[in-house]
């Protein structure tokens, strides 16, 4: 049966693992543009990343954006996931939650640009209703990036939470209610502790996707909203591939660490 796995393993080793190897290899050389004489393998790119506050700040910004988006998504998603998990017929709900996932991020970002622009829908409404006088800066900044990213990642969080909430028998909530627990107490003492596994899975997944996302950030961000994936893209555009590779290695390490945490979580689930 292992024979059946050969094609995919060979394919992924050649075209998935090997490219990552090439990236790591590239990260150990200086750009031929900067050092035409090629001094051989060096950790200079990493030294540059870790030694310069400008780049460290970008790493921190990346993580901060991840935390913000993950927190927002978690809070927004939980009630929806609950409703979805407990819905009698969920066909339409699932369709509505999944359909944004299959529409290209570029197009969703376009929608946000029309909504959040200086003369966009939101500003027009705000001004027309007299809430604000001058248009607010809703995009090309952290606000726009956070809104768009939360939007992109919300369905993942909802589905991760719902699949776990679904497994919590409704009779536990019923029993808690009859024993005197109000809505908040039922959430706090029954639902939340029992859905922590889903919260963990959703949080790692969304965080990982958030720190690796780049289309929404490129389109709705501004000069200040520099995060690792965007910096990598800029470096590639500047043909500074070797430094881009080092940045990629940094992002890869963070991602793999998260992937490890996630797979551990899955393992405990499998053996439980």
């Amino acid at each position: 049966m292992i024979l059946f796995l050969l094609p995919i393993l060979v394919f992924l080793l050649a075209f998935f693992v090997l490219p990552f190897g090439v990236m790591l290899y590239e990260s150990m050389f200086l750009s031929p543009l900067l050092a035409p004489e090629n001094p051989g393998p060096t950790l200079a790119n990493y030294a540059k990343l870790l030694g310069d506050f400008f780049y460290l700040k970008i790493v921190l910004q990346t993580l901060a954006l991840g935390v913000a988006v993950t927190t927002l998504a978690l809070i927004i998603a939980y009630p929806v996931a609950y409703l979805l998990a407990r819905a009698r017929s969920r066909q339409l709900l699932v369709f509505l939650i999944i359909s944004p996932l299959v529409v290209s991020v570029v197009i969703r970002s376009y929608g946000w640009m029309v909504l959040l622009g200086r003369a966009g829908t939101v500003n027009t409404l705000l001004q027309a209703s007299g809430i604000t006088e001058a248009p607010l800066a809703l995009m090309y900044n952290w606000f726009g990036v956070t809104v768009a990213l939360t939007h992109v990642l919300l369905p993942y969080m909802i589905l991760a939470l719902a699949s776990v909430i679904e497994g919590i028998p409704e009779s536990l909530e019923d029993t808690a209610a009859v024993l005197g627990a109000g809505a908040w107490a039922r959430f706090r003492y029954v639902l939340l502790p029992l859905s922590l596994e889903g919260v963990g899975a959703g949080v790692t997944l969304v965080f990982m996707l958030a720190i690796g996302s780049f289309v929404s950030v490129l389109l709705l961000g501004g000069s200040e909203t520099l995060i690792l994936p965007l910096l990598i893209y800029q470096q590639v555009m500047l043909i500074n591939n070797n430094f881009a590779a080092a940045l990629g290695a940094a992002l890869l390490i963070i991602s793999l660490a998260l992937l490890y945490v996630q797979s551990r979580a899955f393992r405990t689930r499998a053996t439980a």
């Binding site: 590239e26 944004p100 029309v114 829908t121 719902a162 996630q262």
Partner: protein
């Protein structure tokens, strides 16, 4: 548990608001295409199909659309060719206890696309393969594979292993048991996985953007370049509307064939 009548109503209203939030940018992106105005705004002013005509006449957009359709189709075929044997192996539960292998096979799904994009770019450079159609196709197959595998897993979670044994007991050869029992059972999973592979390729930007050339620009990458240049004209809306129509039609098809709820990790 019903959280009281008011509570239940509040929960429903809240969820409706979130679902609106989820579909809002898509509604907007599609909506602007129907305006009479050149400037993209929502709600659109007036009504016109002019921008659709403009998009359909636009060589760049139409070329990119054709590229995307062709690439997505080839990706689907390639993904099934590479993934089918693995899907069969998954069906036979070779994977029990090997979460590490499963994590590895599904990792292209979770690792940032931008990482794979530049890695592939460096790989194609280092091997002197260069930016090419075949390189782009292979990259798309890599990112589509996990979807095929995951769908097959979702479909066959809980599939009755006894069926194949029953076929063997009834006198079928192992090949016949596979051909007449296992394969038909695999089919819906493969169909759904194939559709997902198509959608993945058709939507992708973070990988494609590093690997496309002027000749192989895909539709999302082309739209992206318009947006980066802050050119929001309504023609972009029209071509977006077209893209959305295609993917939603495919998703609907997926739902008909298979039931979208079953593709999530939710129970039936």
């Amino acid at each position: 548990m019903m959280a009281g009548r008011t509570g239940a109503v509040l929960l429903r209203v809240y969820c409706a608001a979130v679902l609106l939030f989820l579909s809002l940018p898509i509604i907007v992106a599609v909506g602007v295409a129907f305006g009479a105005d050149r400037i993209a705004r929502f709600p659109p002013r007036g009504f016109s199909l002019h921008w659709f005509a403009a998009a359909l006449m636009d060589r760049t957009f139409m070329g990119a659309l054709a590229t995307s359709l062709e690439l997505a189709t080839l990706t689907t075929i390639g993904t099934i060719l590479v993934g089918l044997p693995a899907a069969v192996a998954l069906e036979r539960r070779v994977f029990i206890g090997s979460t590490a292998l499963e994590t590895f096979l599904l990792s292209p799904l979770t690792l940032p696309g931008v990482l794979f994009g530049i890695s592939m770019l460096f790989f194609l450079g280092a091997t002197r393969w260069g930016l090419s159609w075949s390189g782009l196709l292979i990259a798309h197959i890599v990112i589509a594979l996990p979807y095929l595998l995951r769908t097959t897993l979702a479909v066959h979670r809980g599939l009755d292993r006894g069926l194949e044994e029953a076929a063997l007991v009834l006198g079928a050869s192992p090949w016949q048991a596979f051909r007449y029992v296992t394969l038909p059972l695999l089919k819906p999973g493969l169909a759904a996985g194939g559709l997902f592979a198509f959608l993945t390729s058709f939507d992708n930007v973070p990988v494609s953007i590093f690997l496309t050339t002027a000749q192989t620009n895909t539709l999302p990458v082309t739209i992206m370049s318009y947006l980066v240049n802050q050119d929001f004209d309504a023609t972009v809306g029209a071509i977006s509307a077209l893209q959305v129509a295609i993917v939603l039609a495919l998703l609907y098809l997926l739902d008909r064939i298979y039931g979208v709820a079953r593709l999530t990790s939710l129970g039936a």
